[in-house]
Structures are given as structure tokens and as C-alpha cells.
């Protein structure tokens, strides 16, 4: 543990800062290979229809049009992050308003738009279904009758017995029926959470250029270049190695950008035109047809003993997957947030299930702890309702049920390094929980979240350059989280060289082993450990080489601040003949391999190491209008080493405000299959004038799986705010909202109905 480090734990500004504030940082839409054409996509105006005919010939009349493509030209090409169930362009059936039907590439985007308007498509409307519960009824229109033909299906996750069912996940512990039988009180509630957009401000963008050798060059707004490469290859039916994805900055992800989405269309257009093709979604298209979060209907039932112990819990989440399952990246083609249905509480008998159902709506994808915010809203609202039914203080009730060191959580994972109680106590204190509220119609609400740190594969390559500086090549692009600066800090710390002597380079998909990209709170852990292992290998090689140069056994050398010393007592000496700097070593080591270290890791998922969040909202409700103002918000987290406090706090700040947006305003409402909020004036992201006073409390912990025992923070921040606000509203004015977002109108109606 580098307790005295000036690098690890220091507020180091991002290494890419100057590029980002000056406009020099390049994003996909900023790249223009010579001759690049702009492409636009014609989309279905119907939620469910058969394509009777397409006549795209008139599109060629518009000056500047260089390629025209319809689904009929590429029949059978489907795409998906894992499950390939979405046509690259629809050729027979469209399944949501916004489904892709045809595309045009032209000299300008305006020309491409005009050409699209000349394409004639005849549709025969089919019955459509938008509500996931209705879609599960036996007489509902069937979206994918030919489901079994799709590629890459893993049969065990599918649910052929559920109409329009895509996939099902379950978790259980103990005997849930026996648990309920034992309970003195059983409470059940149902919650509704609408679909929301991730709200990254860089719309999806992709460029495909086919070079003279036939190599497919790609730039894409994807946090997972390897994922995008492999998805594109599969949809085209080619080998991934034929594609090179160039690293580039990504303007926000939050789970919504690890896909190849429109890259296959760009490829076919580029091939036809013989020129590079760029597809940038408009924000309207983002809201209409990218991959928002799943709309969810969640029923939760808990059995409680009179003394306040929870003994059984059942949760069923119906997640609306939309028209396709293509946007889910995992083999289970599902969202797993329901695993946290038990929260940080000890419940011995549980059964949780998450069911993904097809409807004629925009395909749903991942959004910062997929399913987590939905399930937490249900579970932590439900927690307050239980406490109130028992006549207990909601904080006391939580304290009574929290997991302790060595306890199992509600899905049977034994937890170590548990700081649930300390985290909640810290939040209560910071929120002045036990003090009187500042005024009438004020309320406070708590919600908690528990989660493990992500893991998985990563790699790193380190080289000592000729000048003695060190370059680390990482396969991971920066989507905003700041991983490159974390890597710079780790290299600086371990190599004992100044930060400015460390360069971070992102490798492309040719030069690095496959990487999963950023996501699921994994990257500091996985990429950080890859760096540590590569450093270890490098240091071994350097020591070997230094020994050769200095004429000593490697173990006779000491190393301090970038210099090897030959010294029998291991101490530092000023004798120049017996010291060797990294630059001197490099100068005498022509073979760069002797000063390069590499590592490829597969970090195990340590589900037993939990992170805890306790968040408390303080709100004021205008009882005449229902208007909610969140005045103050406390976010408490148990953390171990915080490698970069600026980046760490940035995750908390952004996650809390995303969570509050979910709580209060964000709603990708669909009416008759059409998204009603098609621009950012209607779909309201919080602005700088909308944020509450935020107080962060970091509770000391240790033993995280990351470098320097670091835990994780990204998805610890955004799951609990909706329930915290709902609980605060209930505390303020005595109404319980079970539907998001908690608009002023919903509070007003609830007050009227009271």
C-alpha cells in the first residue's frame, strides 16, 4: 500500500485534459478519410409491418448520391452485440418505428436526406404490441416466429414457453416458500420504470473505409473496439482480422456504446460507392432507434418477522427488450440487475427472476448497471414500505437487516470486507438524519446499493523508450472514466518515475490481444492489474539487463527513482560508474524486446468483495403543485484506495445526477409505438441549474480486488437515487410513488387521491 505515495491517491489532472479542453481530441465524427461520403438511413414509420415493395431508384436523381442500399440488397444479414436478431436493413418485416429499411450515401448529409425522401416503400401494417405484459398474452402478435433461425443462440437462456419471450435469468437461495410461510407479515408491491436514454452527448457515429488491399478500416464511437470489430465481422460473414478498428475518443457511453450498430450499413455503402462512408446518428435517431434502457415492471414481495427481520423475498422483473435482443452484449441476452434485489440485506430465502420480452418498440440495451436502477427503485422503496408497516424507523429497520462481515447476501454470496453499517451510519450523519427537517413539506429518504467489482480480460504492454521514458500501450479507449490517467499513475508509481515520463498509447485491434472494453466497474481492476503485471515483467527484464551492463548479479542491484544502483548493501550511491538510469539502459539496449514487458490477464470476478453505497435525498415538495425540489443529496461509499480522487469524485457527481434525472424527469415514453420525446428539449437531462447540494462521504475500507486494494465506484452511484427521492417524497408529504419519473404531476395526483 503506497500510503506515502505522491502519485497514487493524488488529484492528478487527466493526461488528455489539454486535448479535450482545446478541441484537439478527436472523436469519430471528427475523422474524415479523403473522399468520405455522408450516409443517412430511411426508417420505418410503422411499429410492425410487412414490406410489400421498395423502389429506391429515384434516390439516384439527387445530385451527389453515390450509393443506395435497401434491405432487399442484403437479405439475410443480421446484426447483434451477441444475439444476431436485427436485420442490418429490413427486407421483409419492420418491427419498430425507426427500424432500418434503406440507406443512401452522398457527398453531403443534406443530399442523402433528400434522396431518402424519394425512396418509395409500400408497407402492409401488422398488429403491433407495445406493452411487455400484453406481449406475453397468448393472442399477442408474435414478433419473431423464425427465432430459431437466428445465430449464436444459447438455448438454455431462451424461454420458448413464454410468448414473445426472449430470455430469463433466475437466482435463488434457501426455500422461498418456507420463508414466506414462516413470515408474520407479507407485503407485495409493483413498480413501473420507463425506458430512458443513456444521454451521452456524442451520438453514435461510425466510419468505414475499404482500403486498396481490401482491408476494412473502421472508426467508431464504441467503448469496445474489439466487440464492434467482431460484431461487424459476423454480420458480414467475414473474419474479424479483415477489419481494423482504430482507437478514438468516445463521447460518453454509460453502457450504450459497445456496438457495431450501423457499421454494416456503412460497409455495404462504402463497398458500393468505392469511397469511405460516415454514418452519424442525429440525436432524434438516438432517441428513436439506438438502445435505451429497458422499460421494467417489477413485482416484489417480502416476508417479515414481527421483530423486523426479513425472512423471504420474491422479485419478478419484466424487462421490455423492444423489437430485438441485439443490443445486449452478454451471452445470456438479458439484464442482470435483479441479482441485487436483496440489496445489502440478509435474507435467507429468496427467488428472483428477470424476464426479457419482445415488443414493437426500440431495442433496449445496457445503461449504467443494467437493471440495477430499476430493481433498486423497487427494492428500496419497498424497504421503506416494510419499515412503515412495522412502525419502525426506516434507518433502524435497515441497520437491523444489513449484512455483517461473513454474511451471505440474498443470493448466497458470502461477503468479506463488509462496511454496510459504517456506510449507512456515515450517510445518516452527513444527512443530519436524526435532526429536525429544515421546514414543512421537507422530507428525507434513504436508499442503499451493494455490488461487487467487475473483472475479466485485459492486457498491457510497457516499453522503456530511448530517452528513458516509459510508454504503456493499453487496448482500452477512454470513454470518459479516466483509465489512461490511472494507468499513468500506476506506471509512475511502480517505475518510480515522474508522471510526465509516462506516455499512454491506445493500441488498435491489430496490435493488442482482444479486450472487452470499459464497463461493469471492471476497467481499473482489469486494466490496472494488466499494467501491474506488465510492469513486473518489465522490471525483471530491466534488472537482468542492468546487471549485464553494470557487471553484477540482478539481485545485487537496487532500483530507485528510475535508476539502477550496483551496491552490495542495497543503498543508493552517487558513484556514476555504478549507477544506470533507464535512459542509459535503453541507449545500451538496442533490442527493444529486452526493455518491453507484456501482460495478458483474466481477472476473476470476486463476488465476495462487496462495495456499499448509502444515499440520502432531502427534498421539498410544493403540495399545491407537486413540484419536487431536491435540495441536498448525500452519497456515502465505502472505498479503499482511491487512485485518482478527481476521477473518483467525478463518477459520484455524474452518477448521482444521472440517478436524479431518472428519478425526476427522464422518460422515453412511447405512445402507439412512437417515442414521444424526440429531442433534448423534450427528453430532459438535468442541467447545471437543476442540481442539488451534494455531499460525498467516503468511508474507509480495504481489501478491494483492484490495484492497491482499490474498490470500484462507477455504478455504485446511480442506482439508489430514485428510491432515495421516492422515500423522501413519502416522508415529506405522505404519498408513495411507484412509477418513474416522479413528475410534479404524479405527486400532485397522488396528493389529490390521498
Amino acid at each position: 500500500m503506497p500510503g506515502s505515495s505522491t502519485v497514487i491517491g493524488a488529484p492528478i489532472p487527466r493526461l488528455e485534459g489539454a486535448d479535450k479542453v482545446s478541441g484537439r481530441a478527436l472523436y469519430t465524427a471528427d475523422v474524415s478519410p479523403p473522399g468520405t461520403l455522408a450516409a443517412k438511413i430511411l426508417r420505418s414509420p410503422y411499429a410492425h409491418a410487412r414490406i410489400v415493395s421498395i423502389d429506391a431508384s429515384a434516390a439516384w436523381q439527387v445530385p451527389g448520391v453515390k450509393a443506395v442500399l435497401t434491405g432487399k440488397d442484403i437479405v439475410g444479414h443480421r446484426w447483434g452485440r451477441f444475439l444476431r436478431d436485427m436485420p442490418v436493413l429490413c427486407w421483409d418485416v419492420v418491427r419498430f418505428v425507426g427500424d432500418r429499411v434503406a440507406a443512401v450515401a452522398a457527398e453531403t448529409a443534406d443530399a442523402a436526406e433528400q434522396a431518402l425522401q424519394l425512396i418509395e416503400v409500400e408497407y402492409e401494417e401488422l398488429p403491433a404490441v407495445f406493452d411487455p405484459l400484453e406481449a406475453m398474452q397468448p393472442d399477442a402478435p408474435l414478433l419473431h416466429p423464425d427465432f430459431s433461425e437466428y445465430q449464436d443462440i444459447s438455448p438454455e437462456v431462451l424461454i420458448p414457453d413464454t410468448r414473445n419471450g426472449l430470455s430469463r435469468l433466475t437466482w435463488q437461495k434457501g426455500d422461498v416458500d418456507a420463508g414466506f410461510a414462516e413470515a408474520d407479515l407479507v407485503l407485495e408491491h409493483t413498480f413501473y420504470i420507463p425506458s430512458r436514454h443513456q444521454g451521452y452527448l456524442e451520438p453514435h457515429a461510425g466510419i468505414v473505409a475499404i482500403d486498396e488491399a481490401g482491408r476494412i478500416q473502421v472508426w467508431t464511437a464504441s467503448k469496445s473496439p474489439f466487440g464492434s470489430r467482431n460484431q461487424l465481422a459476423k454480420s458480414l460473414g467475414i473474419q474479424p482480422e479483415q477489419i481494423l478498428v482504430h482507437p478514438i475518443y468516445v463521447g460518453g457511453d454509460f453502457g450504450g456504446k459497445g456496438d457495431a450498430l450501423d457499421l454494416p450499413i456503412a460497409y455495404f455503402l462504402a463497398k458500393q460507392a468505392g469511397r469511405p462512408v460516415r454514418i452519424i446518428m442525429s440525436y432524434l435517431e438516438e432517441l428513436l432507434a439506438s438502445n435505451p434502457s429497458h422499460e421494467s415492471i417489477i413485482t416484489i414481495r417480502t416476508g417479515i418477522k414481527r421483530d423486523g427481520r426479513m425472512v423471504a423475498r420474491y422479485l419478478r422483473a419484466i424487462h421490455n427488450t423492444g423489437a430485438y435482443g441485439c443490443m445486449k452484449p452478454l451471452p445470456n441476452v438479458a439484464i442482470g440487475g435483479a441479482v441485487h434485489a436483496g440489496g445489502p440485506y440478509r435474507i435467507d430465502n429468496t427467488f428472483f427472476e428477470a424476464i426479457q420480452v419482445y415488443t414493437n418498440t426500440v431495442p433496449a440495451g445496457f445503461f449504467r448497471a443494467p437493471g440495477g436502477p430499476q430493481v433498486n427503485f423497487a427494492a428500496e422503496s419497498h424497504t421503506d414500505l416494510i419499515a412503515q408497516a412495522l412502525g419502525m424507523d426506516v434507518a433502524e429497520f435497515r441497520l437491523r437487516n444489513l449484512v455483517e462481515e461473513g454474511d451471505e447476501n440474498a443470493v448466497g454470496e458470502k461477503l468479506n470486507g463488509v462496511h454496510a453499517r459504517e456506510t449507512l451510519e456515515a450517510a445518516l450523519q452527513a444527512a443530519h438524519w436524526r435532526d429536525p427537517k429544515p421546514g414543512v413539506n421537507y422530507g428525507r429518504g434513504i436508499a442503499m446499493y451493494e455490488r461487487h467489482v467487475g473483472a475479466g480480460p485485459s492486457s498491457a504492454e510497457l516499453t522503456v523508450e530511448d530517452d528513458g521514458s516509459v510508454t504503456i500501450i493499453s487496448p482500452t479507449i477512454d470513454q470518459g472514466g479516466g483509465i489512461h490517467t490511472v494507468l499513468q499513475q500506476i506506471v509512475s508509481e511502480e517505475m518510480q518515475i515522474p508522471l510526465d515520463q509516462v506516455r499512454v498509447v491506445v493500441g488498435d485491434t491489430d496490435s493488442m490481444p482482444p479486450d472487452q472494453g470499459v464497463g461493469g466497474m471492471r476497467i481499473t481492476n482489469a486494466n490496472g492489474h494488466a499494467a501491474l503485471q506488465a510492469i513486473e515483467e518489465l522490471q525483471g527484464k530491466l534488472r537482468e539487463r542492468a546487471g549485464e551492463i553494470l557487471g553484477a548479479e540482478p539481485e545485487q542491484l537496487s532500483y530507485d527513482e528510475g535508476v539502477f544502483y550496483r551496491s552490495n548493501d542495497g543503498g543508493r550511491t552517487d558513484d556514476g560508474n555504478r549507477a544506470l538510469s533507464l535512459a542509459e539502459l535503453a541507449a545500451q539496449t538496442a533490442d527493444a524486446e529486452l526493455r518491453t514487458g507484456r501482460a495478458k490477464v483474466e481477472m476473476p470476478m470476486q463476488r465476495d468483495i462487496a462495495c456499499f453505497a448509502a444515499q440520502i435525498a432531502e427534498v421539498e415538495v410544493d403540495p399545491e403543485t407537486g413540484h419536487i425540489r431536491v435540495h441536498r443529496f448525500v452519497s456515502a461509499h465505502d472505498v479503499s484506495t482511491v487512485i485518482n480522487p478527481i476521477a473518483h469524485q467525478g463518477q459520484i457527481d455524474g452518477g448521482v445526477i444521472q440517478g436524479l434525472g431518472m428519478a425526476l424527469t427522464e422518460d422515453l415514453a412511447v405512445e402507439e409505438g412512437r417515442v414521444t420525446s424526440l429531442h433534448l428539449g423534450d427528453y430532459k437531462l438535468p442541467s447545471a441549474a437543476d442540481i442539488p447540494e451534494l455531499e460525498t462521504v467516503l468511508v474507509h475500507s480495504e481489501g478491494g480486488p483492484g490495484p492497491y486494494e482499490a474498490k470500484a465506484i462507477a455504478e455504485m452511484t446511480n442506482c439508489a437515487p430514485p428510491a432515495a427521492v421516492a422515500n423522501a417524497i413519502a416522508d415529506a408529504v405522505g404519498v408513495r410513488l411507484m412509477e418513474l419519473p416522479m413528475t410534479a404531476e404524479r405527486v400532485y395526483r397522488a396528493l389529490q387521491d390521498k
Binding site: Y27, Y200, L201, I646, I657, P686, S687, A688, I691
Partner: protein, 153 residues
């Protein structure tokens, strides 16, 4: 196509533009000034903010052809040869950005604020900057960056 004459970041330009060319496209695709970003395309998000005659505008709602004779400043024009401007330095130091896509617009807006009001209060910063959306930071560090650039302790 019509010819327009304008100054961009202090440099005189004489350019042919189509009537329907938006300023954001003109800057990005005709002049290669890709620091200005486009996101919402309806004037809400502020990613495309530039200064026209010293006042911030949405370049996604401004026709290039309407700027004959105008003085345009983009994010590329804020830094000098000697380095980043004070407000840019502040964004770097205090972490007023994450993914960076909204950052050019944030920086240009903050620069315009400090030109008009060198020592803004926190409420003044929030009121001015609320036209620049950011999904990463929750705004706290953006506000801190602007306040610090404005001399706040």
C-alpha cells in the same frame, strides 16, 4: 453557392457556402475546425457553442451564409501560442470534464461568461452554464472550474 467573408479565430476567410450550410458543418467539414461538436442539433445542449461577435450562439442553429462580415471564435481560438487560456487551464486542473464531447462548448461558454462577468457567483455560473449539458460530470466540477477561473478561492 455564395461567397462570404468573415474572421474566424482572428484569421480572415473568404469562403463559398451553400445557403443551407449550417455554421457547425461549415466549421467542421469545410474548414476542418472539428473542435466544435454537434449533438442535439436543436440549440439545447450547447456542444456546438461558438462566439459570434463575442456572443455565444448555437452553431447548429446558425446559417453560415448569415455571417458575412462577422467575427467567429471557436474553441480552437481560445488558446494562444503560449498555451491554454485561463479557463481551459482551470477545466484541466479541476476536472471539469470527463468524456470531453461537451467540453469545447462548455469552455467557450465559460470564456464568454468570464469576459462579461470576471468574478461570477455560483448562481450566476449555474444560470449561465445551464445551456451546456453534460452527462458525465453532474456539473459540480464544471462549476468549480469556472468559479476558480473567475478567481474564487
Amino acid at each position: 453557392m455564395s461567397e462570404i467573408t468573415l474572421r474566424i479565430n482572428g484569421k480572415q476567410h473568404r469562403e463559398d457556402v451553400a445557403s443551407n450550410r449550417m455554421l457547425v458543418d461549415f466549421l467542421r467539414y469545410d474548414l476542418g475546425l472539428t473542435g466544435t461538436k454537434e449533438s442535439c442539433s436543436v440549440g439545447v445542449c450547447g456542444a456546438c457553442t461558438v462566439l459570434v461577435d463575442g456572443r455565444m450562439v448555437s452553431s447548429c442553429l446558425t446559417l453560415a451564409i448569415s455571417l458575412d462580415g462577422a467575427e467567429v471564435t471557436t474553441v480552437e481560438g481560445l488558446a494562444s501560442e503560449t498555451g491554454l487560456s485561463k479557463v481551459q487551464e482551470s477545466f484541466v486542473k479541476y476536472g471539469g470534464y470527463q468524456c470531453g464531447i461537451c467540453t469545447p462548448g462548455q469552455v467557450v461558454s465559460a470564456y464568454a461568461l468570464l469576459q462579461e462577468n470576471p468574478h461570477p457567483s455560483e448562481d450566476e455560473v449555474k444560470d449561465w452554464m445551464m445551456g451546456n449539458l453534460c452527462r458525465c460530470t453532474g456539473y459540480y466540477k464544471i462549476i468549480e472550474s469556472v468559479m476558480k477561473a473567475g478567481g474564487a478561492e
